[in-house]
Symmetry: C2
Subunit: 422 residues, 2 copies
Amino acid sequence: MLLERRKPIPIGEAVKRIMENPLQGVTEYVSINESYGRYLSEDLIATSDVPHFNRAPYDGFAVKSSDTSDASPTNPVEFEVIDHIGAGMVSAKVVGHKQAVRIMTGAMMPVGTDAVVMFEVAKDYEKNGLPYMSIKRSFKKGDNVSFIGEDAKEGQILVKKGSLINPGIQAMLATFGYQHVPVAKRPRVGLFATGTELLEVKEELVPGKIRNSNSLMIAAQIERAGGIVHYFGKLADEFDPCYEAVKNALNEVDLLITTGGVSVGDFDYLPAIYEKLGAEVLFNKVSMRPGSVTTVAQYNEKILFGLSGNPSACYVGFELFARPIIRRQLFSKKPHLRKEKAQLVVDFPKANPFTRFVRSETFIADGRLKVTPSGLDKSNIIMSLAGANSLMILPGGTRGFTAGCEVEVLLLEDQVGCEWPW
Amino acid sequence: MLLERRKPIPIGEAVKRIMENPLQGVTEYVSINESYGRYLSEDLIATSDVPHFNRAPYDGFAVKSSDTSDASPTNPVEFEVIDHIGAGMVSAKVVGHKQAVRIMTGAMMPVGTDAVVMFEVAKDYEKNGLPYMSIKRSFKKGDNVSFIGEDAKEGQILVKKGSLINPGIQAMLATFGYQHVPVAKRPRVGLFATGTELLEVKEELVPGKIRNSNSLMIAAQIERAGGIVHYFGKLADEFDPCYEAVKNALNEVDLLITTGGVSVGDFDYLPAIYEKLGAEVLFNKVSMRPGSVTTVAQYNEKILFGLSGNPSACYVGFELFARPIIRRQLFSKKPHLRKEKAQLVVDFPKANPFTRFVRSETFIADGRLKVTPSGLDKSNIIMSLAGANSLMILPGGTRGFTAGCEVEVLLLEDQVGCEWPW
């Protein structure tokens, strides 16, 4: 029996081949009440000036500043208080010479006024049953006034498309009347598990079989990336029903992920399925560990990700190869995992003939990024995935690293991303 | 008219008073398919060893190691291949002297075998129509075998309660058969807006009025913190219906947030509502900017957060005062915003008579945390909230900061948290 020979390609080349696919984002509109956590599919543009009227930023008295010019500690100037308005009210009065309007934060400046005297510097009292106030200092035009357009100008681009809608952006959408928000439609990502050894989560363990954890892991990774999971279940153990299932699934999704079955093992059908589909195999081996047997194929404009059945390889393969195309469909300009430098805090003596991705915990100590492997680095160990918030990159051809070395890390729980890390 | 005098308390003291409230988390069970992004309400315990049988971590031939001891480059040792198993299959054969089983990754080691010879170091061929293989090196007991319990031992605590379920934890839950996952019930957080000036998002602007952005902002902050928003709408402009609405809402939620109406402005009813309820005011002024007028009261075991109507003050008040009690209800041991040190990259000349929280963008450059204010720091400016992923803390009594200074930052988009930052 001949072993199939596969030609490994560099990681960057593999990612590049996937990103040449023309898949792009699609817009849908959602209620602003549901827009938090989605990605803007258009630039957020100011639909009005902010503020759109001159307003008082403090509680106080609105006055005409020229009336205050003579005021001094020895020469208090008195104002008749002719109105009293809260935020949202508009004074119907025109403020004349030595007149003032009592005004609350957020209210519109009355006609004839151009400065606000804060309560703390005014003395208020009554005279003949009418309200008055006096001040002992002068104010300049514009003192304590928020002017039209001071915060934003109509037509200004405030947030770029592709941004994740956070609470601040949500507030801006409300300010500008975006009752319906244009967001990226979440890409539908199909998912199949393969493997005779897989039990359902609810099944009891039996010798030789394990519960299917990859599907739930990848489903969570798809969600984290911003996609919607469409789980099609476990593929049958025979070729023909597998082929039919994959073919039918491709009608419903843009991206289709399978876990397992892509190796050169004797029960790995996926390469033959790609062939029968007539899919173009972009690559079937990558110079990296884990995940070297990752296979990615293209069928029409759809992409088939054949991830390894090994949990770690599966995890890494998803993040490096599937995440970026999902993020591009969310209009991200930085669809790849964010890459940063960090200081390794322990020795990592293992040599790396191939580029190695080590599940790691990156943390901050004293303002510096530090990194430590999050568990044993055996490729079959899922336990180390739980604590991992990053993948440490150890370049191929290196002989191991010692504590204190600077290494590169890819951050997993991150919304910033990276334009091109390779 | 007398100005009410309020006594400001330090931030740490304010937070402490809130955290003395006995509110704790409650468990609910969700399907594992919906557990991603929730918080574990119990420790995740290994319900079995992993692996739960001795397994092959590579494709190859399972052999008894003692049969290989004589093998060398000049003395190949031949094995009869008596079975062929993939992952999930169990060989019915008992492997005898100089016999081997062709085995795929993940399959159970057949009875009588204790090492795996990888394909790469074996030569396989047929003899009289029967499969054979030979090797030119010896193997030790356990070579290329994953042993029972190597990855996890039954009964071991693998993940602590309060952890956010990430893809790796999701995989572990599946591995251990947690079809239903104990997670923290999301706290229900009520929300009222107040303010005559507020328009609905869909309404056209009119002079003196602005669209209600605080409610949408706080709703997103509640979601980010892990709560469920229960929006009760805008409070009426008159006292009695306000009072009734607040009282009724308290029957439906644990925490009730109002935005606006807590100042000493002339149209601010909330202090009187707290009084009529008989709620205990924990504080009504804090030594900080923005957000000094934040008022928090307790009614039975429920907490009323009277946040400022000013967007920035509202935002900061939520994160400092409401977030921690929400996180505690999610079983977090680190419920407060994560505090880290970062290097300021621009001058910030403004003096700080009070501790100031500046909406900022914290980023990483060359492995170091850096921070820059994310916009103009006027308290009425919501635009700067969009880019903010952190709050820079400038302690009270400081005279401004210059580029290169080390400052403390509170990270907003973070799941790690902090035990006690004050």
